[in-house]
């Protein structure tokens, strides 16, 4: 692992013009890669060089670049967000790669996440799952006092463990079945742990599971690959929580 010396990398990057066109890998040799760059900065540098040569830059999603927005969606060397655990691609540094290494970059692949261009996919399916029930209906008007509803520290912590989901979709990308269970489970479990979530719990789980199904995500086989690639480390227990909520809705 190099630490100071600039590196040369051989990139194999997925290029695709649009949702219906056929994609292919494009090879680029990147020299002068600073090991302290983030993965996205390395792609910025590549795009700058492409544009200087009059070529089309590579489209990829990014926004905050500090691991909280959930925009980046690169499958790097076969793993969503790359080889570093609990790290989004934007927080992955080039020092994690070796000089002369071949690095492959592919977009999330799932029917429910159609490719828009190159490495950019459409993740609106997640928004529709969220809109189906991932909220609490409250009266409008002045805000409720902060501690009006007593919630134990333990319950708040458990809820937060699921609420940290940034909705990036790595769980779907890594799942051999392309299941969205970890995302949907986390969005359900964060409410299941709080008193505010209780009144609508049955309606919520049924509506969100139904929407997940409609979007064309696959079934879960409890591989737990989702937990392994989740940049914020959400446990597969989120999926178990979703099923527990679902059992409650059955009766």
């Amino acid at each position: 692992m190099s630490t100071h010396e600039n590196m040369t990398l051989h990139l194999k990057i997925w290029r695709q013009n649009g949702p219906d066109s056929k994609g292919h890998f494009e090879d680029h040799t990147m020299d002068e890669v600073n090991p302290h760059m983030s993965f996205l900065e390395m792609l910025d540098l590549l795009n700058e060089r492409l544009m200087q040569n009059g070529k089309q830059p590579i489209e990829f999603d990014h926004d905050c670049r500090e691991g909280i927005c959930g925009s980046c969606n690169l499958v790097i060397n076969g793993i969503p967000h790359g080889p570093e655990m609990r790290t989004a691609a934007c927080q992955l540094h080039m020092r994690k790669f070796n000089d002369g290494e071949t690095v492959t970059i592919e977009p999330w692949r799932a029917k429910a996440f159609p490719i828009i261009k190159d490495l950019v996919v459409d993740r609106d399916a997640f928004d529709r799952i969220q809109a189906a029930g991932g909220f609490v209906s409250t009266r409008t008007g002045s805000m409720v006092d902060a501690n009006a509803i007593p919630i134990s520290k333990e319950a708040a912590d458990k809820s937060m463990d699921y609420a940290v989901c940034i909705g990036c979709g790595a769980c779907v990308a890594a799942c051999p079945n392309s299941s969205a269970s970890l995302f949907t489970g986390a969005k359900i479990a964060q409410f299941a742990k709080l008193p505010q979530g209780a009144p609508e719990r049955k309606r919520r789980v049924v509506a969100m599971v139904e929407q997940m199904e409609k979007e064309g995500f696959g079934d879960c086989s409890n591989y737990a690959e989702c937990e392994a690639v989740c940049p914020v480390g959400i446990s597969i227990s989120a999926i178990a929580e979703m099923r527990k909520e679902y059992v409650k809705a059955l009766f």
């Binding site: 409890n222 392994a228 178990a240």
Partner: protein, 230 residues
């Protein structure tokens, strides 16, 4: 949606897979307990009496058999449909795909659930034809406690003196162990074992259950074959 419709969604299917899987595993435990009576030092009398007791249960036995067939077919049907859904959910596969490791439970056992499952499905059909309907061996009877009954112990002994049957059975028992290694843990998660601190423990329990059941079923054919009889 009605409860019946709710059971047909992806989460509902998973609940059914988990419940049927656990009930089938419990059946294996009972089946193994019965089989192990072969090792009673009485030349198979206890085993034959146990088999005769089951045969004389009449309608209760038939109800049990129907329930077992339904559990088994439902479990297999959902498993096959989950596998078939994969291609639909990801029409274009990755060129490069690797497991992240760590908490991932992707291993030989979990990735081959569909294949071990299909082999078990085929095995169960042959196994029932073999020992319940005596499809492959002549029917032998014995008289115990003044009643004539099937000499099932003799059937078992005869089968496992054959090296091919012994090998085939042993391989399938190992495959059942592999299926259970992922299956038991998966059933816990499917039925809502939501405590993240328990997931590692549940996985270990699954491995232990898988090893105990596979080893228990393996002992019988291997012992008979190596010992040259019961």
């Amino acid at each position: 949606m009605s409860s019946l419709q709710l059971l047909q969604t992806s989460v509902g299917r998973k609940l059914l897979t988990g419940i049927t899987g656990i009930l089938l595993t419990l059946f294996l435990v009972a089946h193994l307990a019965g089989n192990l009576t072969l090792f009673a030092p009485d030349g198979g009398v206890a085993f034959n009496l146990y088999a005769d007791f089951l045969h004389n249960l009449g309608p209760i036995l038939i109800i049990f058999e129907i329930v077992l067939i339904v559990l088994f077919l439902l479990h297999a049907y959902i498993g096959i449909s989950i596998y078939r859904g994969r291609k639909k959910a990801r029409p274009e596969n990755y060129t490069y795909y690797k497991s992240q490791g760590g908490p991932s439970k992707q291993d030989f056992a979990s990735k081959t659930m569909i294949y071990t499952g299909l082999v078990i499905l085929l095995f169960v059909v042959l196994h029932v034809l073999h020992f319940k309907y005596n499809f492959f061996i002549p029917h032998e009877t014995t008289t115990l406690e003044g009643r004539e009954m099937i000499d099932l112990a003799y059937h078992v002994e005869k089968a496992f003196l054959n090296p091919w049957i012994t090998i085939a059975y042993s391989v399938v028992m190992v495959l059942i162990g592999l299926h259970l290694k992922h299956g038991v843990w998966s059933a816990f998660i499917s039925l809502g074992a939501g405590n993240p601190k328990l997931t590692a423990l549940l996985y270990t329990i699954g491995i232990i259950v898988a090893i105990l059941l596979a080893a228990g079923f393996l002992i019988i054919p291997i012992y008979i074959f190596l010992n040259g009889g019961l």
